[in-house]
């Protein structure tokens, strides 16, 4: 686990990749579970796609919660592609995570109905 503290990229050009931020609060079991789940989902469903994953520990950097307006922990924020999606919970519900992540852009294109 590499807690990074990168700032938000203000330039949002048309990137094809995914920018994912996982907000956690300390090394709680739930946070760890979320991370594990996330890594698995990324490797399984974002395979072949460009993605960048950041893990932000709010206990260490509380002021960063303001940026993405985090209330729930854990929260996975899909900053890119737009629109921003917030996926809260330990990511154990795969279906919901996928709807939120929308890796194939199917939702984007209106092909999948939103759950």
């Amino acid at each position: 686990m590499k807690p990074k503290t990168t700032k938000v990229e203000t330039t949002r050009k048309k990137k094809k990749g995914f920018l994912l931020r996982l907000y956690i609060a300390g090394q709680t079991p739930r946070s760890l579970a979320a991370l594990v789940n996330l890594k698995r989902i990324c490797s399984e469903h974002l395979d072949g796609k460009k993605y960048r994953l950041e893990v932000i520990d709010l206990v260490k950097h509380p002021q960063l919660a303001h940026e993405d307006e985090i209330l729930a922990i854990p929260t996975l924020v899909r900053s890119l592609p737009v629109p921003i999606r917030k996926i809260i919970g330990d990511l154990s519900n795969l279906e919901r995570v996928l709807v939120g992540l929308d890796p194939d852009g199917a939702l984007q294109r209106g092909k999948l109905a939103r759950v």
Binding site: L58, A65, I73
Partner: protein, 577 residues
């Protein structure tokens, strides 16, 4: 204002955080519970956010307790703009680290629930905010937003309960706003978690006039006012109107002040009104009430005592113009700062708004006398009891501040003189009734002191006129037919004058008659005297003559005797004789 007596009970009850909101600290007996959470609930537009913001901002400015505002509905910029008109500079407070404001945007469509979670993010943010400024007060506006954003109510409620405990553990005085539910205090039943204090705000429209009410539904651990209190929101923020005193302990003054009409003072035991008393001037339309009120105001100014004149019927310029015609220059006193003349339309606001506005004016101006003309305009369509209650509060408040209060009341023609619409005759100390008396095709003004507590007042009906030198009372005329006024009095007076003149002339005539007779008599006496003295002289002369003759006769006899030589003896006798 006299201080409320300190009661020892208060120190044993809950410690409180003063709000700085006018009236609320009185109603809650000290403020909101310190270190606990207060829910402020109500419908949209009730003023919940305003109350919370004032609590935080005044806490920071007036009580040196920095605060945190976590807003879920309005942005920081919006809030800053909203309170800028109150004179609160939020940007400055933030800069000085007295205030921390954060806007949390919850967009439900953005959120996907995918398993277990908690709201630790919220906690972290609140903690961060509190630590940044060392806050003692927190406001959450509004927690309802969380319910729309996070569909799992179970988790949400648990977390909210945890949050309140968290805030309590850190001794943070918190205000949480919530929407009023149908039949419940809050839509999501937040009041179950917050058992310390719940304030309900209400904003209702009563016959097109909006009134705001506040009620402390629950305040555990302390006594509080349990009634509904009217409040208003204006350029100074929220003002709550509590009843000023539960008991009737006013200090009273025995000082007397003049009314401005010297003859009226004469009717009031020669001295005028008691300072701090309440005076009602009632009368039908056009009977001179405003003139009487203005005269009183001027008298106050002439004593260099500030007077507050509140007009609810005519604009201040109109009143000033009208009063000029009776020789009262109100503008002069306004310029000197001794008279504050405010006027507004009574239909604009509800009763409470009027009352509050008057309260605030009095607090600002600090007058020794207050005039309200007319009070009867405030009745519009609210109930009698409300008016009574309102006037009671006003009179109470003024008495405790030793302010002499004169107000006028319009009586509609046809109603009994002693009945007033407001039913407040028992509240006033002095009641001056102005009446128009109709007789012989004209109406004349008559004044009558119906009651005046604490003094021997005249019971006469006095006629008065409005002249260029103000109100002038005519000397009382009571003829055989009762009180007469106007031309009938004049004609009666003229008749009496004529009678008097006639009698006078009679007397003069008789007097001169007597004198004539005396002179005649004296002349007679003179004549008699003269006659008598002439006679007297005559008689004296005669007597003299007679004596002369007698002496001559005696001499002649002696001579004869001598010449006869009647004997030497006879001669010697004669010579010796």
């Amino acid at each position: 204002m006299p201080k409320r007596p300190q009661r020892s009970l208060e120190t044993k009850s809950l410690p409180k955080a003063p709000t700085g909101i006018s009236g609320l600290d009185e109603v809650s007996f000290g403020g909101l519970p310190r270190g606990r959470t207060t829910i402020v609930c109500g419908g949209p537009g009730c003023g919940k956010t305003m109350l919370g913001l004032e609590f935080i901002v005044r806490g920071a400015i007036e009580y040196n307790e920095p605060g945190v505002v976590l807003a879920f509905e309005e942005t920081v910029a919006e809030m800053t703009r909203n309170v800028a008109s109150l004179g609160f500079d939020l940007k400055d407070l933030i800069r000085r680290k007295k205030l921390f404001m954060e806007y949390v945007h919850i967009e439900p469509r953005e959120i996907q629930e995918t398993g277990e979670y908690d709201l630790e993010g919220l906690f972290i943010r609140v903690q961060n905010a509190v630590e940044t400024v060392g806050a003692k007060r927190v406001m959450l506006d509004t927690l309802e937003a969380l319910f729309s954003g996070f569909p799992n109510e179970g988790i949400l409620r648990a977390e909210i309960r945890r949050l309140f405990r968290w805030l309590k553990d850190r001794n943070l005085s918190t205000v949480v706003t919530a929407e009023k539910g149908d039949g419940t205090l809050t839509r999501h039943g937040l009041e179950e978690y917050v058992s310390d204090c719940v304030i309900l705000l209400d904003h209702r429209i009563n016959e097109q006039v909006s009134t705001r009410r506040m009620r402390i539904v629950k305040y555990r651990g302390t006594r509080h006012g349990a009634d509904e209190y009217p409040f208003l929101i204006d350029e100074d923020g929220i003002s709550v109107l509590p009843i000023t005193s539960m008991e009737l302990h006013h200090s009273v003054s025995a000082q007397r002040i003049v009314s401005g009409v010297a003859d009226l003072d004469a009717m009031l035991d020669g001295k005028g009104f008691y300072r701090g008393s309440s005076v009602m001037v009632s009368g039908t339309a056009g009977s001179g009430k405003t003139t009487m009120a203005s005269t009183f105001a001027e008298a106050s100014c002439q004593r260099a005592e500030r007077c507050l004149f509140i007009g609810l019927e005519e604009s201040d310029h109109q009143v000033a113009r009208n009063m000029k015609s009776v020789g009262i220059d109100l503008q002069k006193w306004v310029r000197k700062g001794l008279l504050v003349h405010e006027a507004w339309r009574p239909t604009q606001y509800g009763m409470e708004m009027h009352l509050l506005r008057i309260h605030k004016l009095i607090e600002k101006v600090r007058p020794r006398a207050v005039v309200i003309d007319p009070v009867s305009n405030l009745i519009n369509s609210t109930s009698r009891r409300e008016v009574q209650s309102m006037l009671t509060r006003l009179i109470d408040y003024m008495k405790s501040a030793q302010i002499t209060f004169l107000f006028t009341s319009l009586i509609h023609g046809g109603t009994a003189l002693e009945r007033t619409d407001e039913g407040i005759s028992s509240l006033i100390d002095t009641w001056i009734s102005l009446r128009d008396v109709e007789l012989n095709g004209e109406r004349n003004h008559v004044l009558h002191v119906l009651k005046s507590r604490g003094m021997a007042h005249s019971n006469q009906l006095r006629e008065f006129v409005l002249t260029a030198r103000g109100i002038q009372l005519r000397p009382p005329y009571v003829g055989p037919a009762g009180v007469l006024t106007g031309t009938s009095r004049l004609s009666q007076e003229a008749r009496e004058n004529a009678d008097a003149v006639a009698r006078q002339q009679d007397i003069e005539r008789k007097r001169s008659e007597v004198q004539r007779k005396r002179r005649a008599l004296e002349a007679q006496i003179e004549a008699l005297k003269t006659e008598f003295s002439a006679e007297e002289k005559g008689l004296e002369r005669d007597l003299e003559q007679f004596l002369k003759v007698q002496t001559q006769v005696t001499l002649n006899r002696a001579q004869m005797a001598r010449s006869r030589n009647a004997g030497s003896r006879a001669a010697k006798k004669g010579a010796r004789k």
